[in-house]
Amino acid sequence: MNTTYGIIAVALVALATLGIGAFGLRLSRTTSDFYVASRSVSPVWNSSAIGGEYLSAASFLGVAGLVLASGADMLWYPIGWTTGYLMLLVFVAAPLRRSGAYTIPDFAQVRLQSVGVRRVASILVVGVGWLYLMPQFQGAGLTLRTVTGAPNWVGTAVVAVIVVINVVSGGMRSITFVQAFQYWLKLTALLIPVFFLLHAWTDDGRPSPVAPTAWFQPFGEATGPGLYLTYSVMVATFLGTMGLPHVVVRFYTNPDGHAARRTTLIVLALLGTFYLLPTIYGVLGRIYARDLLASGRTDTVVLELPSRMIGGSTGEVLAALLTAGAFAAFLSTSSGITMSIAGVVGQGLTRGMGASTRPAWARRISTITTLRLAAAGGVLVPLALALSAERIAVANSVTFAFALAASTFCPLLVLGIWWRGLTARGAIAGLIGGGLCAGIAPVMTIAWGPEGWLGVLMSQPAAWSVPVGFGLMIGGSLLTRGDVPANVSRTMVRLHTPERLDVDRQF
């Protein structure tokens, strides 16, 4: 592959990201701008931004790689990632926006009137964020190595640095522009080469993929673990999406609950369109790039296909376009997660320092400064993990982040919004219990790698850790029934009444 085109593509995406970010910086003036773009983003902008933020390395590169490797069974991943938005739409979108909080810890505190829940939720936001950032950084290293031959750490470091500059300089408003731009870049980058590739495939006499029957059919090898894994992926992705911190923070940028619903609906359409494409790459990869399977580099199939199938300068330009899309995926997802980690940590720090005693202007400056420090700090740990940990398939490792979110924040949000009986102590029990179950799994899988059924249960923990999270939260709340916050009725009014009604929403 010609390295010049690839480097130019990466440089252009990086410059465009920083450029649009700088444009947003001129508009970003207040703390509210910084955190949530002053809640004035229209549904179309917002949903493009959500799409841009959500479609990570796992979607852009990982799905095609998994399809190449394992066939039909892997189609559940993109389905789950889309269905997760439908669950988010029906259970949390509008009430979460109406709660008027910035982050999940804010929601927890508003709903349960407890600083303890807030602290536990803040720690979990950081945990989910780190689990999600690690594969993004690793994917970036892999991509840059495929394109330019540079060692893995170069791409990882490049993405980390750009993300920190971007978040530190502009905050949420610039991120909104950047993310929206990157959705359309990613869709274009994946869509245009498909036409060329399918044309080349037709010219080639439309060969069929060469693979065992198991590859063609879901559950070609019908076994217990296979069925368990499929349902566990479903649970993790269906319920985990609503609890991803970088997804949730996007909902606060909607003007009202009505807009939050419309935004989510548009996101469903945007994701559905995008996810039609990776499958095509995976199947074509099975025909033209089967050697990647042996070398264990299936995640690069999207980047490799144009030069293998088309070649010449057309192939190189298309490969460069795909590289640009992949980099957009790393940058947008990492920026979003870093932003949400920084928001939560920054808020926690400022409150901890007793900011309320200082004058308003000093408080504002220090809040933004803390946010910037938190952004830089939040990236360091996953960066270190990405550089040291052994690589596992991008789409697989992202699922750990989904499982953790599904076992902790999903019960918190769903029960908090729909059930008056949730108490602070019950919520803490669920967050800690579910979090431990879903948090031990990736540690066990990466550090130890157990065999047999234990390995299966640990590689996809959601199917058992989500019930644990829900069970502890409900059980704990029932045991501490007297602790139900006194103002729960007022909170319910706030969460569920349409904005145009002039009811009392104060606490």
Binding site: W76, L271, G272, Y275, L276, T279, H496, T497, L501
Partner: protein, 127 residues
């Protein structure tokens, strides 16, 4: 309140002070003051919204949720081909997405209608 005077005594009051107030209380006031009536309104709104959400969740469970079992149980389904593409690939790779959008669209319509009805109830349009 001293609604129940002791036996043998007769409370003498001005009829106007005990007469029920003729001021109509709006539903909004009931909700703001968290009265029993206000609570009933709120609970009915939340219940109708939750019902809509659970309907979507159940539909998902019965459709996408049962697909793995269907593929596992019926070989004829997995072997079936449309234009040379095996049916599972067509369903999982493409057909699922418009269906998810349609489900979301129906939900939003239902949820917005429930909110409109609630709003009309709480603050009727002055005619």
């Amino acid at each position: 309140m001293t609604d129940e005077p002791a036996k043998g005594r007769i409370r003498v009051t001005n009829p106007l002070t005990t007469a029920p107030s003729h001021v109509r209380r709006s539903v909004r006031q009931e909700i703001d003051e968290s009265t029993g009536v206000g609570e009933v309104y709120m609970r009915s709104l939340i219940r109708s919204q939750l019902r809509a959400a659970l309907t979507v969740a159940t539909t998902l469970l019965l459709s996408i949720g049962t697909l793995p079992l269907i593929f596992l149980a019926f070989d004829s389904v997995t072997d079936f081909e449309v234009w040379g593409v095996p049916l599972p690939w067509l369903v999982l790779g493409a057909a699922v997405y418009p269906a998810l959008f349609a489900l979301g669209w129906l939900y939003v319509r239902q949820a917005e209608r429930a909110e409109r009805d609630f709003a009309d109830l709480v603050e009727p349009e002055e005619s």
